[in-house]
Structures are given as C-alpha cells and as structure tokens.
Amino acid sequence: MNGPSRRETFLLGAAALIPASAVAQEAPRRGGVLTVHFSTEQRILNPSLQASTGVYIVGGKIQEALVDLDAEGRPAPALAESWESAPDGKTHVFRLRRGVTWHDGKPFTSADVQFTAMEMWKKILNYGTTMQHFLTEVQTPDPHTAIFKYERPMPQGLLLRGLPDLGYVSPKHIFETGDIRQNPANTAPIGTGPFKFVEYERGQHIIAERNPNYWRNGMPYLDRVVWRVVTDRAAAAAQMEAGQLLFSPYSALSIADMQRLGRDPRFESTTRGNEGNVRNNTLEFNFRNPVLADIRVRKAIAHAINVPFFIENFLGPFAKPGTGPIPSVSTDYYPGANMPQYGYDLALANRLLDEAGHRRGAGGVRFNLRLNPAPWGEDIQLWSTFIQQSLGQAGIRVEIVRLDAAGFLRSVYNDWNFDLATGWHQYRSDPAVSTTVWYRSGSPRGAPWTNQWGWQDERIDGIIDNAATEVDPVKRKALYADFVRAVQTELPLWMPIEQIFVSVFNRRIRNAGNNPRWASSTWHDTWLAS
C-alpha cells in the first residue's frame, strides 16, 4: 500500500480531470482485471503503423503518443512535455519527457521520435502519410528535443489535433533492423505506456499487465487488462451481463443491446469519452451516372429521406441529425447549423425528380439505382434499408448490393461500380486529416475514403488546399465554414447523421470516459471498484 499523502495528491489531479463526477470522491482501489470487448481482430497492435480504433483500444495502453487530449479535448502533454511552433508553421519543436523508459528497460529519446516519424508516420501509417506528407526531417539536437521541419506550413492546431491519434512513438532499437511491417513487435508491442504486453491468443484474447516502472508514479491502478475477442454482438452483450466483460467500446454492441444495457443500473451506455471519435452516416453519389450528376436528383434524394424519423426509431439517443461534414463536436471548426440543409419533404423530392425529367413509369418507378452499403456497422445496414424504403416512396427503386469489406472498397473506390454508396465518415480531430479528402479531386483511383465519386469543383479544391496550410486558426475556421457551405450546396455527398460512438461500461469501472478519446487512451488512472 502506498502512503495516503501520495494518493491524495493524485486525487486532486484526478478530480480536475473529471468534471462533476461523484465517482472521484472515492479512493482508487488498486488491483483487478479490466476485461474489454475486442470486436475486430487486428493484424497488428502497433498504433504507429496503423491508425484505427481497433489498434488504439489495445496499443494505446502499451504505447504512448507525443500529445494526448485533456478532459476538455485540448492537446495535453504526454511523451512531449511542451511544444512551440515557428510563425511560418514550418518548424515545430517538441520537448520530450525525461526519465521515461521502454518496457524493455531502454531509455526513451528523441531518436525514437525521429525514427517513428520518418519511417512510420510518414511512410506507413494510414492518415499519417497524408498529414506528414510535407515533413522533411526531424532534427534531434539532444535526446529530449525533437524538431519537426515541414516543406509547407503546417498549422499547429492541425498537428496537435492529429498527434493524439497519429503520434504514437515506437522504439527505434526494436524496429531499426529488418522490415518494419514484419517486425514481431507489431503484434507484441513494446511501449512506454502504463501496461506491458503479455500475450495475444488469436481469436481469443490479448493480455497486458501493469507496468511497475510507469513514469506517472503510482499508476496504473489495474493489475491487468484483458481484451476478449468476441465478434458476435449478441454474445458480447451476454458476456457483459454475465460480468465476463466490463467494457465494450466503440458501439460494438447491437443498438438494441446498448439501449437495453443503458437501462440496467449495473451498466452505463454513454457517448461520454468518445467525443473525439465522431462519425457521420453518409450517402455517396456516383457522378458518372448522369442521373446522379444532376443536382436536382441528389437534392430530391436527400429530401425524400426522413432522417429524424430514422434516428428516433432506429438509432435512438446516440445519434442526431448531421449538418455537414464537420461535426458539431469539433469545437474548433464546426461552422454551425446555418448551412444549407435538406429536410424531409417528399412532395418537394417528387417535384424535383419530375423537373429533372424522371417521370414515374410502370409501377410508379422512375429509375433504378444500386446502393452499396459498407459491411461494417449495424447502423449502416439499417440506414441502407431505410434509404431503400424511403427512395421507393419517391419512385426510385433501390437495389442493395451486399459486399464484404474488400468487395465494397474495391467496387466503390476502385472500380467505381456503384450508383449510391453509404458508409461512415470518421472525423479525426481536424478536417484536413480525415474529411477534405472526401471532397478534394485528384485522388488516385483505388484510395479508399477519398473522392472517387467523379466530382470536381476547382473552387472547393482551392478552399481545401488553402485551409490545409493556413496557420492562423481564425482564418482556418472561416475557410472551413466556406467549405461546408459549398459542399452542402453542391451536395457531392451527403452526411445527414452524426453519431458519437457509444461505450458501455460496467459501473465498477471508475474514471471511465474522462477524456474525449477515452477508449483509445492510456487508462493510467482507471480503477475498478470492488
């Protein structure tokens, strides 16, 4: 047992992190195993190489990023204690934390940052390659300073918002020899985080145990974290109820179960702690289909779908109508709801379609469209069915083309073999990281989640390019407002629903959800009540 004084110091800090939480009044209990629902098996667990929630859930406890987010979603020190940027946005200096060691005992230095940034973030990491495209070098004047040099201006806000997800550091001494992709440490990660990797049994579980040498003294509280691979939603819900699982992150349960467990006093179903992980349900139009290239048809389609009804009856309290590609939780860039919107108006939809020259034919059908829904997420399935049902009423017969993940990506983003497509747009802290690529023309064929719709607008391309390198945060925000207005007017794709991922906690977990990307975060202060 540690002395009471030390615990009290922590409690002060913890209380600051958790706004208005009665939980913080209790003294953290040491020990215990946190069992976590792991719904999608991962090829690798190294977040420096793969940016996805499935990796963060595990790797984020073992490896750490330069920058983290605080409770309010502001960049907070992690492996970097502080940072400053040159006014031209081309140089960013990070002062690294001292006294941090890797799990194998080697010290953490700027060389690790340099290596990870140049070899992993810039070359391999998805989204990272985009963000760090103009990174020319990382200078290491001393072991605790890393200076990032950019060819073009890199807005500090963009960089800091990107780094919590795209700034995980890997140990150079492990990865410098051999092929980085094949390195065994990708599936048995070595980091600086509060938990040390123990084992990964494919199809069954991953285990990590407490790192006694963690740089945050006295932390973590948990003895172990165990991720159980449960691919079946219903089975996972059953295990939550049986207490075999204590936490199910990222909306991995069925919508019905998330709502049901939310009503159970033992559990909490909440979007809290996921504010940094927002997604939109999309509707994407293939402009190579002349019918859809007509903006009246696109607008008619949007007007024909009763989004509030869908949200109320199918998605429940975890979703709300979206107002554009930048979601409302993005406090820095959200332009407000006063952008062009497409409310449910079937009559208007019919009128627009008539105007576009698509009269109803036999059986009241105007024309047929194929809809490719992405195969992930129950809500996508419900949404695609709802689109089918809704457009049917407007005289558009929709055939759903069911494909698995590979087939979906190939047919939509490579073969352009679709009329409508629907999936998720996941917003990652900054529009330049995750969003504008959906609209910017000139993406090479085959790149998923980019503009493969055949849509081109030079004015919008210009806004996107300017915003990406605009160093002044105020101007940047304005540029993105212009962007949202433009794309909501032209409607190259439609993002009518905004959803925050849902976490389901067993209430025994304390300090849960105390930052905007909690499921991905380190859990150094998480503890289990008895």
């Binding site: 999608t40 390659t129 599936t187 069954q204 089975a235 059953a238 085959g446 790149a447």
Partner: protein, 325 residues
C-alpha cells in the same frame, strides 16, 4: 504395417483431389472483387493509394496469377503454407491456434450424434411403428428440419439469457485463470450448446440411418438363423444385428465429415468460438488467400484423415473388407 501402407495409399490417392481443390480455389479467388490489401485498408479505416500500392508489392499481389500459383504450389511442396497478410503470422501458426476448438467441437458433436443416433435408432427399430418409434422418428424429423444457427440462437435465449445455466459463447472464461481440471470443465461448459447445435442435424441423420439399417438387418437371413437358434431378442440385437447395422452409419461419418466442418462455420459464428470455421469465414471476407488455402488444405486433410479412420474402423468391424485388401 498394412495400416500404414493403407494410409499412404489413401494419401497418394487423394493427392490429385487435393491439388484439384487447391488450384480450383486459388483460381476462383482470383475472380473475387477486392484483395487482401482492400480488406486491410478496411480494417485500418483508411490509407492512401501509395500505401496500398506498396502493400500490394509487399504481399506479392503485383505478380501475375500463374506466377503466384506456381509460387504457392512450390512452397506447398515443402509444406510451407505461407504467411497470412491479415494475421501477420505464418498461416500454419494461425491455423494451429484455431484448430483445437474446431476439433473438440467436431469430436464432441460427432460423439453426441453417434451415441444418441445409435441409441434412438435401435430403440425406434425395436419398437417399429409403436409409439416410441413414432416419437423418435418425429423428433428426428424435427431435428433434421431445424436450422442449426436458429437452434443455437434459441438455445442462447433460453439457456443463457433466461435460465443463465450456460455461457452464451466463447471457448473458455479467460478472466478466471483456470488450470487443469477446472479449465477442462470450463471449456466443457462452453461447448455444451455448440455441441448440441452442431450435432443436432447429424443426430437426426444418424438416427434415421440407424433405424433403417436396423430394420434392414433385422430382415436378413442370418437374423432369422439367430432367432432359430433360440437366442433372446436382446442377444440377437446386441450380438448379431447391432454391428451389422452400424456399418452404414460408420460410412456416413466419413461422407459427412466435410459437411460437419462446413456446419462449424455457422455454429462457431453463433457461439463466437475461435475455431477453424470462423477463421474460414473471416479469411474469405478478408481475402486472406494464403490462410483460406491453408484452411482448405487442412480441412481437406482432415476429411481425408477422418475417412481414413473410418476405413480402418470399417475394416475392423467388417472382416470381409480386411480380407479383400
């Protein structure tokens, strides 16, 4: 010695079959929309085209079909199943990890179906056209008609959700660090429902076959001989009929090994078992060609092995066979 020779002969005879399957599967999968890299991108949730291109080169997907097929077969000769793109491990390792649950499940289901099929079949045939027969035959029909995944779901609702007797899925409770007997018991508890689910249809089939086979054998001349010898009905059935009547059932095991393996895809999916069937489903969806071909290879071997065991069993049961070879 003879058994070994028979085994080798079996294997040699099934080599063309194996080759046919692997090459056919390889070519078939080339027609699939999307490849491993697409699936990987989906798993990552994003990435750019340059990265995709590099990954394709890394996994050798930029080569021609013939070249890749050649490479694959060459490696196979050295019993190297290749490297799984999705799992980032050698395919052999991935499959070995997933094999035990499937083998356990199949063995348990087979034993369950065989034992009860035998029992019910005998009872039904002994009481032919009386109420036990009618009841058993009805049950057999209903079991046969029950979609296994549906039965699994309903069993979960009843036994896991409402009664809370049995776990709803998984292969073991890893939050408890069971060892030894407790671990076995834990796995057994987890396997009860999957075993019932997978075994049900086979129980129905075995039951029907056993009943028909019993009736068939009961009508044979040597049974009349046995009765004419003044043997009791019990002895007639136990000593003379049963073994003869079991022969078609034994044959059936071999014929249905593949079907059972296929059924485990669904059952493992219902009960979230980390087995081969589930892996097969995942690798089809993930376009993990190497893993899938590995599974095909292993399951074909498994089917061949089961058939081999069945052959030996059959030969042990029926002296006429051993005399022939």
């Amino acid at each position: 010695m003879r058994v070994l020779r028979l085994a080798l002969w079996r294997l040699a005879a099934s080599l063309p079959t194996l080759l046919l399957i692997l090459v056919g599967m390889f070519l078939l999968l080339q027609l699939a929309p999307g490849d491993t890299v697409d699936a990987l991108m989906a798993q990552m949730g994003g990435g750019d085209a340059r990265m995709a291109e590099e990954m394709r080169r890394f996994y050798g997907l930029d080569l021609g079909i013939a070249a890749r097929l050649g490479q694959y077969l060459m490696r196979l000769v050295t019993l190297d199943l290749g490297f799984s793109a999705i799992y980032g491990k050698p395919v052999a390792t991935v499959i070995l990890e997933r094999l035990p649950p499937t083998l356990l499940l199949m063995a348990a289901s087979l034993s369950f179906a065989f034992f009860f099929g035998l029992l019910f079949g005998v009872v039904a045939a002994r009481r032919v056209n009386k109420w036990p027969d009618t009841l058993i035959s009805m049950l057999g029909l209903v079991f046969y008609a029950t979609p296994s995944f549906w039965f699994g779901l309903m069993a979960i609702v009843l036994f896991s959700v409402y009664l809370q007797w049995l776990p709803a899925g998984g292969f073991g409770d890893i939050t408890q660090n069971y060892t030894g007997f407790a671990a076995m018991l834990d796995i057994a508890r987890h396997l009860v429902l999957p075993t019932l689910t997978l075994g049900l249809i086979f129980l129905a089939i075995y039951l029907r076959i056993m009943r028909a086979s019993m009736l068939e054998v009961l009508s044979l001349d040597f049974v009349r001989t046995a009765r004419a010898k003044g043997l009791s009905e019990t002895r007639v059935v136990a000593k003379h009929v049963l073994r003869n009547a079991m022969l078609p059932m034994v044959t059936l095991i071999g014929l249905q090994a593949g079907t059972m393996l296929g059924g485990s895809v669904v059952v493992e999916s219902v009960f979230a078992l980390p087995g081969l069937g589930r892996l097969a489903y995942e690798s089809v969806v993930q376009r993990d060609l190497n893993t899938l071909l590995g599974i095909v290879f292993v399951s074909a071997l498994l089917v061949i092995a089961i058939n081999f065991v069945v052959d030996i069993l059959y030969a042990r049961l029926d002296p006429r066979i051993s005399a022939e070879s």
